[in-house]
C-alpha cells in the first residue's frame, strides 16, 4: 500500500537574486513498512524533500499525496492539523518540550487530539516501554541524556499512530552506543507495528540498517536501491 506518493516535485528558492533548485524533479513513492534512507551530500535537497513530504513546505510544482490527501489542496492551517494526524517527526535535536516530563511529552500529541485520559495513559506507558524508558517517565528532558531524549521523541512520534515517521538526522548528535540503541528500537517498531520510517541522513550507521537507500544529488534521485538487511 502506498503511503506517500511524490509525483514530479520541484522546489525552488529565490535566495536574493540567485535561484536555487533544491528539489529538481523527484518522483518517488513509499510503501507501508518501508525503512528507507535518503542520502546525499550537503545541499543535495534531502532536508527539503523531507520537509515537503511532511507537509512543512509546499512544492513549487508537482504533487505529493499522503494517505490519499493531496497536500497542495491543503491550506497552511489545514496542513498543521494534517501533520498532527498523519505525520510523526523526529528531529536532530530540540524534539521535546522542556517543561514537560517524558510521559507528558509522549502523550502530547494525543492530548492535542483529545484522546480520553485512560487511553492516552495506556498508550504512553506502552510506548515508553517499547523504547525502554518506563523508569524515566517522570524525568524532564534536561535530566535525560541525548540518546534518551531521542528515544522519547520516537515514542512521542509513534504514539498517535501516524502514517509514517520522518526522521531528519536523528543520530547526528549521538555517540555510537546511543545511536545503535535508537536504531534498534526504530527497527523493532518498524517490524512490530509496521511503521514506515523515512530518514534523511549522512550517518553511515543509519545507512547500514536501511532496507532502501535513495540517493539524491542536486535535487534529483540518482539511485533507489532496495536491499535486504538484517539487524
Amino acid at each position: 500500500m502506498k503511503v506517500v506518493e511524490i509525483n514530479d516535485v520541484f522546489k525552488t528558492y529565490h535566495d536574493t537574486e540567485v535561484e536555487v533548485k533544491a528539489v529538481n524533479g523527484v518522483t518517488l513513492s513509499f510503501e507501508k513498512g518501508d525503512f528507507a534512507v535518503i542520502v546525499g551530500p550537503s545541499g543535495s535537497g534531502k532536508t527539503t524533500l523531507l520537509n515537503l513530504i511532511g507537509g512543512l513546505d509546499q512544492p513549487t510544482a508537482g504533487e505529493i499525496i499522503v494517505a490519499g490527501h493531496r497536500l497542495s489542496e491543503l491550506k497552511p492551517s489545514e496542513l498543521i492539523d494534517f501533520r498532527m494526524e498523519h505525520v510523526g517527526f523526529v528531529f536532530q535535536s530540540y524534539n521535546l518540550i522542556p517543561v514537560l516530563t517524558a510521559s507528558e511529552n509522549v502523550g502530547f500529541i494525543m492530548s492535542l487530539q483529545k484522546w480520553p485520559k485512560e487511553k492516552r495513559m495506556a498508550r504512553t506507558d506502552e510506548m515508553l516501554q517499547s523504547v525502554g524508558l518506563s523508569d524515566r517517565h517522570k524525568s524532564r528532558p534536561a535530566q535525560l541524556s541525548g540518546g534518551q531524549q531521542q528515544r522519547v521523541a520516537v515514542a512521542r512520534a509513534l504514539a498517535p499512530r501516524p502514517q509514517f515517521i520522518l526522521a531528519d538526522e536523528p543520530t547526528a548528535n549521538l555517540d555510537t552506543k546511543s545511536a545503535e540503541t535508537l536504531l534498534d528500537i526504530m527497527e523493532k517498531l518498524n517490524r512490530e507495528e509496521e511503521m514506515t520510517f523515512i530518514f534523511s541522513t549522512h550517518d553511515v550507521r543509519v545507512m547500514k540498517r536501511a532496507r532502501r537507500v535513495i540517493t539524491l544529488e542536486d535535487g534529483r534521485v540518482v539511485s533507489d536501491e532496495r536491499t535486504n538487511h538484517h539487524s
Binding site: 520537509n51 512543512l56 492551517s77 498532527m84 505525520v87 528531529f91 518540550i97 522542556p98 512520534a157
Partner: protein, 475 residues
C-alpha cells in the same frame, strides 16, 4: 493542557519572570493603596456631612436656601411632618428655625447662621454632641438664666473666645503627655501669659525652644495651653420677624470640634424656643424640617418619594445640597481609574518586552511545535496565557500586599498633620483610615487580565509568523 504548559513556561526563566512580577506587584500595590487612602477620606467626609451637619433630607420653602429670609416659613409644616413620618426609612424628624446674623464679642465678630433646634430630638439625629470638646461645657446641658449657644471651635477662635494660657494645669498636662521636664522648664517664663491666637503662642515658645524641640512638642504645647473660660458670653445680632435689628446675649454652653472648618465657623445652635421668642415668630412656624434615614443607601428613593408628596416645597437630600460630595466620589474614582490604567499601561511595556524575549528565544521550539501539529490557535493561546499568568501573579501579589497594608493602616491611621490646615478648610480629616470596597478588587483583576492580554498580542503575532521550516533550520 496548554494552560499547564503555559504556566510552566513562565517559570523557565525565573529571574526574568520575577522581575516583571515584582514590577506588577509594586505598581498594583501603589495604585490600590493610594486609592484606598483617598477613598477613605471621602467616606469620612460623607459620614461627617450626614451625621454631623446635614442629616439625610431637608425640606424648606423654595428660595429659602439662598436668602435665609426670616419671613419665608414653611406653609403647612404639619403636613410635611406627616409626609416624612409616612416615608419608609425615615427614623427621626426635627423642625428648625434659621436666621442669619452676626455673632460678636468685644474682641471680634463674624457672620453666622443661627439655627434654633429642638435639643432632644436633634440629639438623636446627629452625633454633633459627641464632638464636644471636653472641658468646654456640654451640649445644652446646664440650666442658665441667659440663652445658651452651642458653637464651633473655629467660630470661637474667630471671636477670640479661645485663648492660649500655660497655666499650672497645662504644665501638669505636658508632663503627663511625655514632654521632657527640661523643655517644660524653658516654657516657665510664659506661665499664665494670655495669648489670643495660636500663632502668638507659637511665636512665643519658638523663641524659647530650639527648632527641633518646637517641632516635636509644638502640638502638645498648643493643646495643653488651649483654654476656654466656661460660660463665655457672646452677643447675637439679627433681624426679627418685623425686619428690625435685634439681638441678645447668649452664654456658650459648649464648643464642638469637627473636621469641617467652614461648618464650625458658620454654625451656631440655640434652643428653638429661645430663638422664637427673640424673633417674635409665631408658634408652629419653622424654616426647615429635617429627616434622618436608616441607611445612606435609601437616600435617593426616600427623598424622591418625599418630593413627590410635597410639590411646591424644596426637598433636597444631602447629595443635592452638597453636590460636591456625590460628585467628588465620582470624580476621584475616575481620576484614580485613569491613574490605574496608566500604571497598567506602564507595566505593559515591561510585559511585552519580556514576552517578546520569551518568544524569540524559543523559535526552534515553536517551530517544532508547529511541525508536530500544534495549530496556530493553540500557540496563540499559550503565549497569551503566559502573559496573563505574569500579570495575574504580580497582580494578586500586589493586591494581597495592599490588602494587608490597608488593614493595618485602617487600624492605626495615617496622619497628614502637615496638611491639616488646608484639608480641614474643606471639611476633610487629616487623619486617614484607608479603606476600599471588594468590588474594586474585582474590577482591578479584570483590568490586569486585560493588560496581560493586550501585552501578549504583539509577541503572539511574532510567534505565529514563524515559519516552521526556517525555525527548525536554525536559531
Amino acid at each position: 493542557m496548554i494552560t499547564s504548559i503555559a504556566w510552566k513556561n513562565v517559570w523557565r526563566n525565573r529571574t526574568r519572570s520575577l522581575t516583571v512580577i515584582a514590577a506588577v506587584t509594586v505598581g498594583v500595590f501603589a495604585g490600590v493603596f493610594a486609592m484606598a487612602a483617598i477613598n477613605s477620606s471621602i467616606v469620612q467626609r460623607i459620614d461627617a456631612a450626614v451625621n454631623e451637619e446635614l442629616s439625610h433630607i431637608q425640606v424648606n420653602n423654595p428660595g429659602f436656601r439662598g436668602s435665609s429670609d426670616i419671613a419665608n416659613v414653611i406653609a403647612g409644616p404639619q403636613k410635611v411632618v406627616k409626609v416624612l413620618d409616612e416615608t419608609p426609612g425615615v427614623t427621626h424628624i426635627a423642625e428648625r428655625i434659621i436666621v442669619r446674623g452676626i455673632a460678636s464679642t468685644s474682641a471680634g465678630s463674624a457672620g453666622v447662621e443661627i439655627t434654633g433646634i429642638d435639643v432632644e430630638k436633634e440629639q438623636q439625629m446627629f452625633t454633633l454632641n459627641e464632638r464636644l470638646i471636653p472641658g468646654t461645657g456640654s451640649y445644652f446641658g446646664t440650666d442658665t438664666r441667659l440663652n445658651s449657644a452651642f458653637i464651633g471651635e473655629k467660630l470661637a477662635k474667630e471671636l477670640y473666645i479661645i485663648r492660649y494660657i500655660l497655666s499650672e494645669e497645662s504644665f501638669t498636662t505636658l508632663e503627663a503627655e511625655g514632654v521632657p521636664a527640661a523643655v517644660a522648664a524653658k516654657l516657665r517664663p510664659l506661665e499664665n501669659q494670655r495669648f489670643t491666637t495660636e500663632k502668638k503662642l507659637t511665636e512665643a515658645f519658638s523663641g524659647l525652644l530650639t527648632a527641633k524641640e518646637a517641632k516635636l512638642y509644638g502640638m502638645k504645647i498648643k493643646e495643653a495651653a488651649w483654654s476656654y473660660r466656661e460660660g463665655s458670653k457672646i452677643i447675637l445680632t439679627f433681624l426679627d420677624a418685623d425686619g428690625m435689628q435685634t439681638g441678645a446675649a447668649f452664654r456658650i454652653c459648649g464648643i464642638f470640634r469637627t473636621n469641617n472648618d467652614f461648618f464650625e465657623a458658620m454654625s451656631l445652635f440655640v434652643p428653638r424656643d429661645e430663638l422664637r421668642r427673640l424673633t417674635g415668630m409665631e408658634e408652629g412656624q419653622y424654616h426647615r424640617i429635617i429627616a434622618r434615614l436608616e441607611d445612606n443607601d435609601q437616600t435617593d428613593k426616600a427623598s424622591a418619594a418625599v418630593k413627590e408628596s410635597l410639590p411646591g416645597l424644596e426637598v433636597m437630600n444631602w447629595k443635592q445640597i452638597q453636590t460636591d460630595l456625590a460628585m467628588i466620589a465620582d470624580y476621584v474614582n475616575r481620576i484614580y481609574g485613569i491613574f490605574m490604567v496608566l500604571i497598567l499601561a506602564a507595566l505593559a511595556f515591561g510585559i511585552v518586552n519580556t514576552m517578546l524575549m520569551a518568544v524569540l528565544e524559543r523559535t526552534r521550539e515553536l517551530g517544532m511545535l508547529s511541525a508536530i501539529g500544534m495549530n496556530r490557535r493553540r500557540v496563540f493561546s499559550m503565549i497569551m496565557l503566559e502573559s496573563i499568568f505574569l500579570s495575574i501573579v504580580g497582580g494578586f501579589a500586589g493586591m494581597a500586599v495592599s490588602a494587608i497594608v490597608i488593614a493595618i493602616t485602617n487600624h492605626t491611621g495615617i496622619n497628614l498633620v502637615k496638611y491639616a490646615e488646608g484639608l480641614e478648610a474643606f471639611g476633610y480629616s487629616a487623619q486617614l483610615y484607608p479603606t476600599i470596597g471588594a468590588d474594586f478588587f474585582i474590577m482591578l483583576t479584570v483590568m490586569i487580565v486585560i493588560t496581560g492580554i493586550i501585552s501578549a498580542i504583539y509577541p503572539a503575532r511574532k510567534a505565529l509568523q514563524l515559519n516552521p521550516v526556517e525555525a527548525l533550520r536554525g536559531e
